[in-house]
């Protein structure tokens, strides 16, 4: 945000030459600040350098190419202890991204649902929504996370007493085990069909909008898109001869093997982040809806729109303009909050970085890497949401 100088300040500006009193003061004070910053920075740097040298602590980023030697419990990419520190850190970055993106999506869903519930005309639903928001917002996230992990999830049954759904899905202390699809030879066709369906949907949406503007008749875009996205791959799947195998989780030895597993550390982090941040987003949504003038709703009702469509077609699009900026901040906060993974043992970037500090002592480098990556993520989220904001503002006619 650029802060504009007020005219009052201009009034005071001396109109003398380059060496007028004002300019000299300005120059001197700026020089002082620059000197202070550079001097302070140099002092810190020199002290650190002296400290490192005196203890013969090796510094630099060379360690990133050394073998890490530790294992990681939950990785989305194949990882073994013989991989490098750099690669281990990448595993952490990917985990951070994964849990952040998933939480953002789910927290948005929860936030919108609860926010709409809070302004519902149903008294009971509105109170429940309020209780949820006030309860979650006023308790530290870390407490919610630790509570989830040590109390809620620890209450799940032991491996041998797993909750068993038709022999397909298992739930126990070690996580939620789901069947995993294994693509066979002809699966490429299914993927291609899905890609084609996506293109089809895009074309359909554009055509429907033009058609609507030209003729005034609405096309049931949502139903058609869903049908296209589901049917095209399904047809291809059957035509290609069911090219998919399922790997079922099964108890072998001490643990379940095979299938997809959602581990308790991940689940606790995800649920905690979604519930906590969802409460904040709900508050944004509520405030946004309340800010839309009552007249809009009354006008919509006068036109005969039912309450559901009023919300969907009239109120929410206008509310978005106030919701998006504040929700951007919540998304950014959520990404930063995901660093609390370290408290419950989910191997995110901070957790793996902490292990790296413990294993080789290169704290300065690791903390620098953390900061750089979080700053980059922040910038990315802000850019994306600014773009979304511009889109939402364009609707303003």
């Amino acid at each position: 945000m650029v802060s504009r100088r007020s005219p009052a300040l201009d009034l005071e500006r001396p109109r003398g030459g380059y060496l007028s009193r004002g300019n000299v003061v300005s120059l001197l004070s700026q020089l002082a600040v620059v000197a202070l910053v550079i001097g302070g920075g140099y002092l810190l740097f020199a002290t650190t350098q002296a400290n490192l040298e005196q203890r013969q602590i090796h510094s630099g980023f060379r360690f990133l190419s050394f073998e890490a030697g530790f294992s990681i419990g939950d990785s989305l990419i194949p990882y073994s202890p013989s991989d490098t520190y750099g690669y281990a850190f990448l595993v952490g970055i990917i985990n951070t991204f994964f849990v952040s993106i998933l939480s953002i999506v789910l927290a948005t869903v929860v936030g919108i649902a609860v926010g709409v519930a809070e302004v519902s005309r149903n008294w009971l639903i509105a109170r429940l929504g309020e209780i949820y928001v006030e309860l979650l917002r006023n308790v530290p996230l870390l407490l919610t996370l630790i509570f989830m992990y040590t109390v809620v999830l620890a209450g799940l049954p032991a491996v041998r007493q797993s909750i068993d759904l038709f022999g397909l899905v298992f739930l126990n202390q070690r996580g939620l085990y789901l069947p995993r699809p294994l693509p066979l030879d002809g699966f490429g066709y299914v993927a291609a069909a899905f890609a084609a369906a996506v293109v089809g949907v895009i074309v359909l949406v554009r055509w429907a909008r033009r058609h609507h503007e030209r003729t005034g008749t609405a096309v049931p875009v949502l139903a058609l898109s869903v049908a296209l996205l589901l049917l095209a791959p399904l047809v291809a799947y059957v035509a290609a001869g069911l090219p998919l195998d399922w790997e079922l989780p099964a108890l072998k030895g001490l643990n379940f093997r095979g299938g997809w597993v959602c581990r308790p550390e991940f689940a606790a982090l995800l649920v905690g982040l979604v519930l906590y941040r969802g409460a904040f987003i709900a508050e944004n949504v509520r405030a946004g809806i309340v800010a839309v003038g009552k007249g809009q709703r009354e006008a919509a009702a006068a036109l005969g729109l039912p309450p559901g469509r009023t919300m969907h077609l009239v109120v929410l699009p206008q509310a978005l303009r106030t919701i998006i900026p504040s929700t951007t901040n919540d998304y950014v906060s959520l990404v930063k909050d995901s660093s609390l993974a370290v408290a419950i043992g989910y191997p995110d970037m901070v957790s793996i970085g902490g292990t790296m500090i413990g294993q080789n002592g290169q704290a300065i480098e690791v903390i620098g890497m953390w900061m750089a990556i979080y700053l980059a993520i922040n910038l990315l989220v802000s850019l994306l949401m600014n773009w979304a904001n511009v889109k939402a503002q364009l609707v303003d006619r």
């Binding site: 203890r55 013969q56 030697g69 990681i72 072998k252 030895g253 001490l254 292990t355 413990g358 294993q359």
Partner: protein, 336 residues
């Protein structure tokens, strides 16, 4: 504190980063800063009145007694495993005595020096008895709770690789968290040094329901560490601890040390207790340095028995930590 900070800042600005010895700093401060564990029974844990006790704690108390003649002039700083080496390298503590394994990387690269091995341990696995396991190799595919940033974590990965076993590790920031997760059933096994497993077992709801598997998968020579580059300070800590072992060899105990000092004819004991020679001066201390240390905390054997051995809930055998004369590995250089 603020005043001291300010004084040293001024001193630094005026004189540049002058290097004072750690011993001078400690004496000026009137207090030894000792890094310890965050609560490992037997090694370092506060008792119900908040007083720190344990084997590692006793080592620091011995150093404090050697310097000040008082085992309580210490500030104990609990350190997480991520901080245990850095805290001493950056001078936030004067010595770390915290079940820390002596490794080449730490010694040569991370800005610290190890003093002398005080405890020979090895990594093992603890499992529930009802799993019926006989060997760690049967843990294949099992979930193992482990602490981040430790040699334990690396040894676990190495053991898996060497034996072609896949473990599913669950890594925690602190030992307590790892023990809790094991206790709640999140993991099949808990791995750390054998002695600590035995110690943690006593804190579980039903200690008898857990067994420690026989395999010792690593060497864990535990040693107190000091910052790199202050040889006088390193000598002081090293020889104070050596003195405690020497005292056990020579039969000098907390109770008989006064008698010994007054009556002994043994030249070794005379040298050690400052009756003859001035060995304390070699490390910058008075003649009575070891007398004070032994008087305060007893000899090595007494410290062991009180915290880990027969006099403690753990009841550990001396094993490798017996004197060399009794089949153990404790063989320290002489004080002469």
């Amino acid at each position: 504190m603020t005043k001291r900070w300010f004084t040293s800042l001024c001193a630094m600005v005026i004189a540049g980063p002058a290097v004072a010895g750690t011993l001078d700093d400690v004496k000026a401060r009137g207090q030894l800063n000792c890094g310890v564990g965050e609560g490992v029974p037997g090694f370092s844990i506060p008792d119900s009145s908040g007083r720190w006790t344990g084997f590692d704690v006793a080592m620091c108390r011995a150093v404090s007694a050697a310097i000040f003649g008082d085992p309580d002039k210490i500030k104990f700083v609990p350190l997480s495993s991520n901080q245990k080496v850095l805290a001493v390298a950056t001078g936030q503590v004067d010595v770390t005595s915290r079940t820390t394994t002596w490794t080449m990387q730490r010694d040569a690269k991370e800005g610290v020096d190890f003093t002398v091995i005080v405890y020979y341990d090895g990594q093992a696995f603890m499992v529930r008895k009802d799993l019926g396991l006989k060997s760690a190799k049967e843990l294949a595919g099992g979930t193992v709770c482990v602490t981040a940033g430790t040699t334990t974590e690396l040894n676990l990965a190495d053991f898996g690789r060497a034996n072609g076993i896949n473990f599913e590790p669950v890594v925690f920031d602190g030992k307590k968290e790892a023990v809790n997760a094991y206790a709640s059933g999140r993991c099949d096994a808990l791995t750390t040094d054998y002695t600590q497993l035995a110690a943690f077992r006593t804190t579980l709801a039903d200690p008898k329901a857990h067994v420690i598997l026989p395999e010792i998968i690593s060497k864990e020579p535990l040693a107190p560490l000091v910052k790199h580059g202050d040889n006088q300070w390193k000598d002081l800590v090293t020889w104070t601890i050596i003195g405690l072992v020497q005292a056990e060899e020579l039969g000098v105990t907390q109770t008989n040390v006064d008698d010994m000092k007054a009556t002994t004819k043994n030249p070794d004991i005379q040298r050690m207790l400052g009756v003859s020679g001035d060995y304390g001066a070699y490390v910058g201390l008075g003649k009575d340095w070891l007398y004070n240390a032994i008087k305060a905390v007893g000899n090595y054997g007494e410290i062991y028995d009180r915290n880990l051995g027969s006099g403690s809930p753990l009841g550990m055998e001396r094993g490798k930590n017996a004197l060399w004369t009794k089949g153990g590995l404790l063989y320290v250089p002489p004080i002469r």
